[in-house]
């Protein structure tokens, strides 16, 4: 392909489709919902061209189930939805977590709660991404802020899901999902695609939930000669239900530890003009772009403001934030909700600096000027 062809004006949702295809996605199951439907539509069009499968299920519960089934059968699988649909996916998301089944779930956030504001953006589902399904569980959630990042983080999401055998949530918001932006689509040979580890032992010796050193068990796909059981019950190495406290304890902790021990690999952040900053903004998604502009405007006024932009939302970059809190006097957390990330920032800061939320919940993207206003207001205090 020549260069010209690789640069496109893509909608955020379209970029997600392109990213998924580059990652080797072969299956999509979904149920339409604004503002994510274009992902399903793109998949419906493009998957059969490469011999992949698209299926529109009867609801989001079934979509999540089908995605897990297809992944068990060996296909990289994707589903996309928005808040109300995320609610419905929670139970089966937990099933994917406990059975360590790779898959990617997109949540294009719109205003909530409930049906809320279907065509307006929000970041109201950040905490749901972490805690939506019941019981102790880890999760990885990524949040791009540009159309280009949607493409690259979709690839990351698939890679993480395959590498760590876990569902990964891609948190978009209505602004970036529907926005169109110039994107350079990388050549397949220029991107790293990770595939799940296959077992190296013969079927008789295979223990589907016995972890390697990295905490992740190799995964045999159904239909490839390895016969085994998976269940939503807490299970032993064989995948069979257990009620042995030691086995239970070891299993649940491993689920967490496999993510925890790779936190360096998983956490992606960007520091912008933070080195000499006395005031830090922490933001992600479309809001991070407002915050970046705020930093520029503030610097013009001589204010030492910097930005920590999160691309990985979960696990949360507590250590980085803690360090930052020791450096700056003030952290402001602009987000399109009534204060979700700010809770994590407060926790991680351990009282080392002032932490101030700046929330907006009226369905409009936060703009740079209002954040600047907040900075001015706060430094007067």
């Amino acid at each position: 392909m020549n260069n010209q062809k690789n640069i496109k004006l893509l909608q955020g949702n379209e970029a997600c489709v392109e990213g998924a295809l580059l990652s080797g996605v072969k299956f999509f199951a979904g149920y339409p919902i604004t503002p994510s439907s274009e992902i399903a539509e793109g998949m419906a069009k493009k998957l059969p061209k490469i011999g992949g499968k698209f299926i529109q299920m009867e609801d989001e519960i079934a979509s999540m189930a089908a995605v897990i089934g297809a992944s068990m059968a060996g296909l990289k699988s994707l589903t996309a939805t928005s808040g109300p649909g995320m609610c419905l996916k929670q139970e089966n998301l937990g099933f994917a977590i406990i059975n360590e089944i790779p898959c990617v779930v997109v949540n294009a956030q719109r205003g909530g709660p409930s049906t809320g504001l279907p065509t307006k953006p929000s970041q109201g589902d950040m905490m749901q991404a972490r805690w939506g399904t019941h019981g102790d569980h880890p999760i990885i959630a990524l949040a791009p802020s540009t159309v280009n990042e949607i493409l690259t983080l979709t690839i990351k999401a698939f890679n993480f899901s395959e590498k760590y055998r876990t569902p990964v949530i891609l948190l978009l918001d209505e602004v970036i999902a529907h926005m169109r932006e110039k994107v350079e689509i990388p050549a397949p040979e220029d991107i790293e695609v990770i595939n799940r580890k296959k077992p190296t032992v013969p079927p008789e010796e295979y223990l589907p939930f016995k972890p390697d050193e990295d905490g992740v068990p190799p995964m045999a796909n159904f239909g490839e000669g390895y016969r085994y059981h998976i269940t939503g019950l807490v299970h032993n190495y064989k995948g069979l239900p257990t009620s042995d406290s030691q086995e239970i304890d070891a299993f649940i902790r491993r689920l967490h530890n496999k993510i925890e021990k790779s936190i360096k690999d998983i956490i992606i952040i960007e520091r912008y003009l933070l080195d000499d900053a006395k005031i830090a903004l922490i933001a992600y998604g479309s809001v991070a772009r407002a915050a970046e502009r705020t930093v520029k405007l503030a610097r013009e006024e001589g204010l030492k403001v910097g930005l920590l932009k999160l691309l990985t939302i979960w696990p949360f970059c507590s250590e980085e934030v803690n360090k930052l809190a020791q450096q700056v006097d003030l952290i402001i957390v602009p987000e399109m909700n009534l204060g979700q990330m700010v809770l994590e920032v407060e926790r991680a800061s351990r009282g080392k600096c002032r932490v101030v939320p700046y929330g907006r919940v009226d369905g409009e993207l936060i703009n740079p000027i209002e954040i600047l206003g907040k900075i001015r207001e706060e430094i007067k205090k």
Partner: protein
């Protein structure tokens, strides 16, 4: 050109403003090699109601993707004009459809009026090309993107069978712009 140019195309649903925004962004981003972001806001309902398409064009990476202070405003309805003109830059340009927008605020000496919809209907027998004529006028007036770029973008984004009429509509827009400029 300014480092960052902010364009707001406003009117009501069904006037093709989102497509116009996409074409403009594609012209800037793909064919002129700049950076470009297009976004839109839906009204309370997906169908009908107010519609707004925003394009930000820049030579550098674009951080905030939405219009902060409008440099170029297209207004195809009175409501849209009233609402968005408030956010127009001091030296911003307003292009309004004079058939529909009857009360034009006196805010800038760069206000241009033209009966765009009426012209579309008269010259092409359909209001559907209003958006493309508007684009032609805007590009003609402001050079926000090159004429070649917008031509290519139009061709790449409209259905094949509508290509010809849209190209003509665009050219008509260019010409209208010339007239408008000389009149000023």
């Amino acid at each position: 050109m300014k480092e960052r140019l902010e364009i707001c195309l406003s009117g009501s649903g069904g006037q093709g403003l989102i497509l116009a925004g996409i074409i403009l962004a594609e012209a800037a981003g793909i064919y002129d090699g700049k950076e470009a972001v297009q976004s839109q806001s839906y009204g309370p309902e997906a169908r009908g109601g107010a519609s707004r398409s925003e394009v930000v064009i820049s030579n550098n990476t674009i951080d905030y993707p939405k219009v902060m202070k409008t440099d170029i405003l297209l207004a195809l309805t009175q409501t849209a004009c009233d609402k968005y003109v408030k956010n127009l830059n001091e030296d911003g340009i307003l292009l309004a459809d004079s058939t529909i927008v009857t009360e034009v605020p006196n805010i800038s000496n760069k206000t241009y009026l033209f009966p765009i919809t009426e012209t579309a209907q008269k010259k092409f027998g359909t209001k559907l090309v209003t958006n493309i004529i508007s684009l032609g006028i805007i590009v003609g007036l402001t050079k926000v993107v090159s004429q070649e770029a917008i031509q290519k973008a139009v061709c790449s984004r409209v259905p094949v069978k509508a290509k010809e009429v849209n190209e003509k509509a665009l050219l008509l827009g260019f010409n209208i712009a010339k007239d408008l400029r000389t009149k000023k």
